[in-house]
Each structure stands twice: as C-alpha cells, then as structure tokens.
C-alpha cells in the first residue's frame, strides 16, 4: 500500500503527462505482481463490489471524527469526494501500514461477508493506522473508482514501457471481463490466453469532433459519410454460438438487450460488429430519452420490451470468419459488412445497416448534416475510406461532425454551490422559461458549465446579493439574468415539470443584452421537439 499510495501522491503532484507516465512505469517495474494486477484493475475502473454502503461509511467516519453528522454532510458537499472527506475529517495520524495493496483488497473483498459491527471495527482500526494519503486511497478503494487524471491510455503506455509489449496488444489484453483477484500478472499481461478470447471485444476506435472546415479534409470521394446515431455505442460478438454485447465503457451488457439473442443462429460465428444500440418504438428510431428507460434496467420486463424495443445499427466489421480484419481499409470492411447483412436473413432480427451516404461535394454533406435531426441523428460521421480500425481516440481518419446544438434563452432561477474549487461559488444553476401567460417561470433545465471563471465569479457575487430564499444548499434568486442554453436533444417527458427533457444542457453565453421579458417560453421550447 505504501508504494501504491506513493504512486497516487506522485500522480497527484503533477499535471504533466510525461511525469505521470514516468511514475506509473516506475511502479510497474518495482511493485509486486499481485499489486500490479490490482493497480491495473483500479486504474481501468474495475473495483471490488462496495463492501459497505455509503450511509454507514459516513456515520462511522463521523463517529471517529467526533462531529455531528450534519457537519460531515456539509463538509462532504463542499469537498465533493467521499473518500477525500473521510481522509480529511478523521484525526490526523503519522502512522503507515506495511500491508500490501493486494492484502488490503483481499480484506475489502472479505469485508462484504462480515457483520456491520465487524465492518465498523475493521474500518476504524485501519483509518487510524494510515497516514492521510493511504487513508484516502484506502477509502477510495472502498467507495468508488479513482479519478486522478490517469486515463486507461496513459496507464497502458506506462505498462508498455515497463514490459516492452506493444500498447495496442496490451489494450486488447486489458479489455473485457477479468477478475483481478483470480488472475495473475503473468496470465493477464505476459501470457497468450486462448480461453478469454471467446468474449473479448476489441478496443473501440473513437472519433474526434471536427473543428476545421470539412473542405480541409481533402476530396469528398475519399470519405464515407453516414449519420451519427444517438444511442449506445456497442460491439456485438458472435462466437461459438454465444452472444456478447459490450458497451463503449467496456461493460458487458448482453443481458440488458435480450432482443439480440436472435442473432445467434442468423449471424455467422466468428463475427464482431461495431454499431449503435437504438430505441425502436413503433417501428422507427426513437429518442435517447426512450433508450434511457432501458439503460438502467438489469432485467427487462415484457411490457418494456414491447414498448421500447431496441435495434442494432451496424457500421463496421472488426472480425470476419473468425479473423481480425481491423487492419483492412474501411472500404473493404464495409463491403464485407454489407455482404454479411445481405446474406443473412436480417429481416427476422433487429439488425440494420447504417447506410453509407453518397455525396459528390462537401456542400451536399453539409446539407445532409443540417437535416440530421429529422433522421434522429446527431450529425454526420466522416470516415476515411482507406483507414484501418485504430485503437482509442486518434486524430485523422474518423471525425464526428455534429449538428449545431439547439438553443433557447432562459432565466436564472435557482443556484447551488459548486464542488471542489468551486465550493465557495454558486456555479450550479437552474433555469426557467415562461409559461403561456408569461406570469411564471417554469424550471426546464440545470446547467453548470459554459461560463468562464470570471463570469462565474460575477454571477456568484450577484447571487449572494440577490438571494430570495435558502433551501439547504440551494438559493432562489431574483429573476434578472438571461442565459442562452444549448442542448443536444429534446423530447417530451412526464417526469419533468416543464413536460420536456433536454439532453446535455449547458450555458452557451450570458445574454446581458436581454431582459427577462425577452426570455423564451415553454411553448417555444416545445416547438423544437421533432
């Protein structure tokens, strides 16, 4: 644990990628093998199931700190991270533990089986025996994933430096389901392993947003254009008469989408497709809001399956006849995919090809992008026809050219303190639009990004002077400021007071030139629903 918390401390003390990679490489060179496996697991967001719920954790930490529970809650709200709050609030200690990372994690796994009394005793004992950083790391292992500015890509790069194994090969080895407590470092990293192969996906290739003019990409004839579907990016694997569905977050989601079981006898074995899971109510593509009813569910009821079925829109073929074809040009992979879909009896299964659109000029592409919303898409994907399927986010061959966001002018109505650095500032805002009679502002969205630090400071100081009422951390303010709010999608919703749900709302700009009378109405918003 000393080594690992020292690693976290070092990673925490720099914003420079080279120094982070250096620290990680050093760790992978000197740490015991079992610890390395856990470090890899933790930095790729695999952690043991939480052994204690957070309510109990808060109570037990509060007890040790000898403060009232409400004060812990307020502190947590301001610190913004439970493990960090616990580490800060418990009396300081200069102790340090000799137990290894592996030992701690084995104990945490065992902890789940113990009684609450035993759990509490274990936590109290360990919290007091660790110094600040170890305590933070220990609590983090219990509460959740590490977000310390180390991407999986960065970790893989360091691992590659330490082992001399190619980065892409390591990325592939680290995909999928492996149990850090059961696998050895040799099995995970060093050995070729046939058994795991069956369910293993390929690392996703991710596109960057197009920021320059499309014309700068060269000839339109060298590019494939297709709609950018607004669903869940997924890889679907059919091998050995088994189906595996992976989401982009490397989560195995096969059970959530029983519709796809029908692929097994239709799609040939040895096929891996890249595509988008889309909602398909009433026989046409729905909104992301429809899909949301499916995402959270582990088991899907019959009624829900009927109401919101899903389909898979496929756009790429990564494995064909059991062979990895990622190196072949996109043009060829598309041809094989087209043929594959054509040859099987796809009419019986929820599988559709994402059409490749033919254009003779960039202007035509731009026009198609303008009507993306009619197609229920987010814009256009541009893929170079002679490009291989790369690993991770790489610039050059794939671009997403999203349609401009929808916007509306809304009035600031409520504000809440931000987290961490923003904990002294009111930076989380609620916005309202006018009702039909322009009498009342109806809440329609919350947003907390899009302003500069200087603007946030100004709005914050205004809020502090114009508070109407306080509700815990939330303040209502005098309606006065108008902001232009941008969002990606919009759909009707019964759960929202306004009757409308917007996707990814954020502040586009502060309209200091507008008065609250100039803000839009709920009716204006509803008119944007496709």
């Amino acid at each position: 644990m000393k080594l690992f918390s020292e690693l976290i401390r070092t990673l925490d003390s720099t914003n420079k990628t080279t120094l982070k990679v250096e620290a990680l490489t050093h760790y992978f060179e000197i740490a015991p093998d079992k610890d390395k496996v856990w470090a890899i697991a933790i930095l790729s967001h695999r952690r043991p199931p939480r052994p204690v719920n957070t309510t109990l954790l808060r109570e037990w930490a509060t007890e040790l700190a000898n403060i009232p529970l409400w004060l812990f809650e307020e502190s947590y709200h301001i610190v913004g991270d439970l493990a960090e709050t616990i580490a800060l609030i418990i009396p300081a200690s200069d102790n340090s533990s000799d137990k290894s990372l592996n030992q701690f994690l084995q104990e945490i796994i065992e902890l789940k089986k113990l009684t609450d009394m035993e759990k509490k005793e274990y936590l109290h004992e360990n919290w007091l025996e660790l110094n600040y950083y170890e305590r933070f790391v220990f609590s983090k292992l219990i509460t959740g994933s590490f977000r310390i500015g180390v991407s999986q890509k960065l970790m893989t790069r360091a691992l590659s430096k330490a082992t001399n194994i190619d980065e892409d090969i390591l990325a592939y080895k680290l995909m999928g389901n492996w149990e850090p407590s059961k696998i050895s470092y040799t099995q995970l990293i060093l050995e070729e392993n046939e058994e795991d192969y069956l369910s293993k996906p390929y690392p996703f290739y991710l596109a960057y947003a197009l920021e320059s003019e499309a014309e700068e990409l060269g000839k339109v004839s060298e590019w494939s254009a297709e709609h950018k579907w607004d669903g869940i990016r997924s890889q679907v694997i059919i091998r050995n008469n088994e189906l595996f569905v992976w989401s982009r977050g490397e989560e195995l989601v096969t059970d959530k989408y029983p519709e796809f079981q029908a692929f097994i006898n239709t799609v040939p074995n040895g096929t891996v497709m890249d595509g988008e899971i889309l909602p398909f109510p009433k026989g046409e593509i729905g909104t992301f809001n429809d899909l949301q009813t499916r995402i959270g569910r582990k088991t899907v009821s019959k009624a829900l399956l009927e109401k919101t079925p899903v389909i898979l829109k496929v756009y790429d073929l990564l494995e064909w006849n059991g062979k990895d074809i990622r190196e072949r040009p996109y043009r060829e992979r598309r041809e094989l995919l087209k043929k594959l879909v054509k040859d099987m009896d796809a009419s019986e299964i929820p599988l559709f090809l994402s059409e490749s659109l033919a254009f003779s000029s960039w202007e035509e592409v731009a026009n198609e992008r303008q009507r993306a919303r009619e197609e229920r898409s987010e814009g256009i994907m541009l893929k170079k026809l002679d490009s291989p399927y790369l690993v991770g986010r790489k610039k050059g061959d794939w671009w997403k050219w999203k349609v401009d966001p929808l916007t509306i002018d809304a009035v600031l109505t409520y504000a809440m303190r931000g987290h961490g650095r923003r904990s002294n500032l009111f930076t989380d805002y609620t916005f309202g639009l006018w009702d039909e009679e322009k009498n009342e502002l109806v809440t329609f969205a919350k947003a907390y990004s899009g302003l500069t630090d200087a603007e946030f400071r100004k709005v914050d100081s205004w809020i502090k002077k114009n508070t109407l009422e306080r509700f815990g951390p939330v303040r209502s303010v005098t309606p006065h400021h108008v902001f232009e709010i941008a969002f990606e999608g919009i759909a009707e919703s019964k759960r929202h007071k306004s009757g409308v749900a917007t996707r990814f709302p954020r502040i586009l700009r502060w309209r200091q030139d507008k008065k609250i009378e100039d803000a839009n109405t709920i009716e204006d918003l509803k008119a944007l629903i496709p």
Binding site: T14, L88, D453
Partner: protein, 351 residues
Amino acid sequence: MNTPLLVFNEKGIYCEKAKVYLDPWKPVDHAIISHGHADHSRWGHKKYITHHSNVPIIKHRLGEIIVTGKEWNETFTINGVKFSLHPAGHIIGSSQIRVEYKGEVWVFTGDYKMEDDGVAVPYESVKCHSFITECTFGLPAFKWVPQEQVMTDVNNWWQQNREDGRTSVLFGYSLGKAQRLLKYLDPSIGKIYTHGAIENMTEVLRPQLSMPETIRITRDTKKEELKGSMVLAPPSAQGTPWIRKMVPFVTASASGWMTFRGARRRRAIDKGFVLSDHCDWQGLLQAIEGTGCEKVICTHGYTEIFSRFLREKGYDARTEETQYEGEIGELEAKSEIEKDLEIVKKTPESL
C-alpha cells in the same frame, strides 16, 4: 434595549457612539483598519487609523491618505468609546480591534491565525463579550500542519526541481504569503526571483522583516539564469505570457485551499502546499474559547455552517453579510491589484 455597540450596515461594521467604521467597504469619514489586504483596507476614506506597522503597507497600496499609526494595546478614546489594537497574527501589522463602552467589550478579528509564523506578531487572545470572527476555513476538513514541516517540503520540492533542471514557480499573495514564504526559503539551494508586484511589496516590508535576497524579474532577465531558481509570483500570474520565460517550470500554490485535491487540479497547478494565514477549524474553536465570549458573529467564510456548529455548542452565534473575502484570491487567481482597480472604478458612483 439600546442599539448594539457595533452594527453591520451597508458601508461596514459601524460604531454609532464613536461614529467610526471598522474595515468599511464603502468610503466613510473615520475608518479603523485591521490589516492591509484589499478587502479590509479600501480606498476613499477621509481618515484611517491602523497599527503603525501597517501604515507603510496601506500607503503603498492606497497612495496619499491621512493615516494615524497606533501601538499594540494603546487605548485611544473617541466620543467616550475606548479602542485598542491587538496582534492578529495574520500578516505584518494585522490587528484585532477591541471596542469598549461602559464595560461592554467587543472584539473584531479582521483576519487571523493562531500559529506563530515568525513574521507577524503572534495572535493574542483578548477577553470580550462579543467576538466578531472570520471563518474562512470554518470546516473540520481544514487542519494545518506546522509551518516548519510545510517549508521543509517547499525547499525539498525546489531542490528536486532544480536537480531536474526545472524552475520552481510558487504562487502566493503578494502581501503576506509571499514574504512568509520568502523568509523560510533556503537561499543555499539557488537564487530567488520575484514578480514585480511581490518585489514592490517586499521592498516596503524589508525594514520590518529580515528576508533572503531577491531579484526582480524584468524584461531584461535572461531565460537561462532563471533555470533551477525559485520564482515567487502572485496567483494572477498563472497562465499569463509573463510565465513563459520560466519554461521548463513546475508550479505550486501555497494556500489553505490546497487541502482540497480538486482546488489544485482544477487550477492546473502541479503541487499544492497547505499553508494559510487564517485559522483552521481547531484554531477557530480555540480562539473563540479563549476570548470567554458569549456572542459570536461570523463575517466571512463558511459562516452558516460554522455558526450553526457554535449554536449547538451553546454560543449565541450568528452570521452577518460582509464584503470580506478571506483567502479567495489565492483560490481564484484574482490579484489584489485587480481588486484595487475594481474598487477605484466603483468608488465614483458610490461617493
């Protein structure tokens, strides 16, 4: 019941009996000033009273003003109200202001800390009935480690950066924090350079405090000579073209806010040293207990949380809105200079 000895109005903390304001944020006739930071000593008052060691500081900041310097514990009477200044330990010349009338005693802390930093005259506990306190860091998450330990870390960090061929850029307020850091930097490691704003203030304070030698960074400073050195800069210098001269450099901030990992990460600073000129949680509680007061008024910081905690402990505690900012400038990269400019801009309309 008469009006309280001190009230909070739109201009500041007011003593009606004496017609005097304490740290007013709008122009007034008579102001008693706790210390030289911009949010406590504003421009535009007709007469200033402050501790004599603060006089050169506010004169440097505010220009030609009419100011009287007082000694610690020197009682001066205005309209029958007794005033005296007592060390607050925050920065050089920082005072608590004691106000007494007919046996009733109030103390206004301004900003203060409990640790003796060897720079400011250490905090002195003053008995009172009502205690007006800041609580910038009034949360149990804030726990300071001794200065000696922090400064050892700072010097080790500098040494390591020097060995790696990098310049160390350390951010801190140009008044107070910069001189405190400077005093304990180890000049045997290398040369210490300063941003102009810090150098100007340091020159003002040299007669009062012995500090290692510094070199002002000017247009003529060569990039090569900076390599491996220490550069003290105000928080506002981060991300400006000025800092490019230090490449390759590593940045650090010394502030109480560095307690939070998020505070450092979001400002994209490499290293955070937890070093504050304010009280931590225990410091605040200890100070309040030391005064033997019954009433506590919290002026800035986590006021609502802190006063609620005090009420549960049996104090008559409440919050008053003021325009004091605590250590926010070290968090938000907003310099005192910028703050001064804002105040000057605001003044004509409020006059």
